[in-house]
């Protein structure tokens, strides 16, 4: 009974993680410029791989493995925004342009202020 429930939960986690990864890949191809593509890759992509790792922890069914999977999940969730933010800031400072339909660039005179 409990094994069947864990298997069904694992199946749900696996499918939703793969769905998030697919959504991230679609967004990476469909969005217009670098800064919007970064949203897809760093949010949906991270959640996708994190859910798949959680699925491994749930499927194993013992506490140490689940704790390791949870640690990996938190590691990804913590590091993905840092790397995305660093890359976006570097690209913006170097001068890669926003898409023409962007309505607002709050960091336009960031370099002048510091």
């Amino acid at each position: 009974m409990i094994d069947g429930f864990l298997a069904l939960l694992t199946a749900f986690l696996v499918l939703s993680g793969a769905g998030f990864a697919l959504a991230a890949a679609i967004g990476l191809n469909r969005l217009p410029d670098l800064y919007t593509r970064m949203h897809a890759a760093s949010k949906a992509g991270t959640v996708g791989s994190g859910l798949l790792l959680l699925a491994v922890g749930v499927h194993a069914g013992d506490l140490p493995t689940f704790a390791r999977a949870l640690a990996g999940f938190f590691f990804f969730v913590l590091t993905a925004p840092i790397s995305a933010h660093l890359l976006a800031m570097a690209a913006h400072r170097v001068g890669y342009p926003l898409h023409a339909e962007s309505v607002r660039d709050e960091m336009k005179d960031y370099d002048k202020r510091i």
Binding site: A11, F12, V14, A21, L34, A41, G45, L52, G72, Y96
Partner: protein, 138 residues
């Protein structure tokens, strides 16, 4: 239809979906007009490979794969940080979109070799070596 059959079918389906998203991300790496686009796609590629590793861990039952996935995530994070520093230090040197790498290579090949050596220094009429000093004393 037991729960194990559902799990095995959903793992197959997830493998197929991950393959599709992997190919789409590779397409962005190839096509991406600028360097940061490619870096974002490479970061995403690392995440998809972590997903593949997790699926293989579920299929084979080896939980050791979790550690491999975590270390791959660490490597991907460090690679993205290093690429961000590289983008910052390289500046916005970018050719027309589409043939950036080719234009860069042609520019690098056609550029004149920078003159590193200064013009030869004129030798002073009187040296300052020990022999000269000895001569001056006499």
């Amino acid at each position: 239809m037991t729960a194990q059959m559902v799990l095995s079918f959903s793992i197959w389906l997830a493998l197929v979906v991950l393959c599709v998203s992997f190919l789409m991300t590779v397409w962005r790496v190839i096509k991406g007009p600028t360097l940061p686009d490619r870096v974002v796609a490479l970061d995403m590629l690392t995440g998809i490979v972590i997903g593949f590793i997790a699926l293989i861990a579920i299929r084979t039952g080896f939980t050791l794969y979790i550690d491999i996935a975590i270390s791959l995530g660490l490597v991907g994070f460090l690679a993205t940080v290093a690429f961000a520093r590289f983008v910052l230090s390289r500046g916005g040197r970018e050719g027309p979109p589409g043939e950036t790498a080719k234009a860069e290579m042609i520019k690098a090949l056609a550029a004149p070799v920078p003159e590193t050596r200064r013009s030869p220094r004129k030798k002073p009429a009187t040296g300052t070596g020990p022999a000269v000093r000895r001569k001056a004393k006499k």
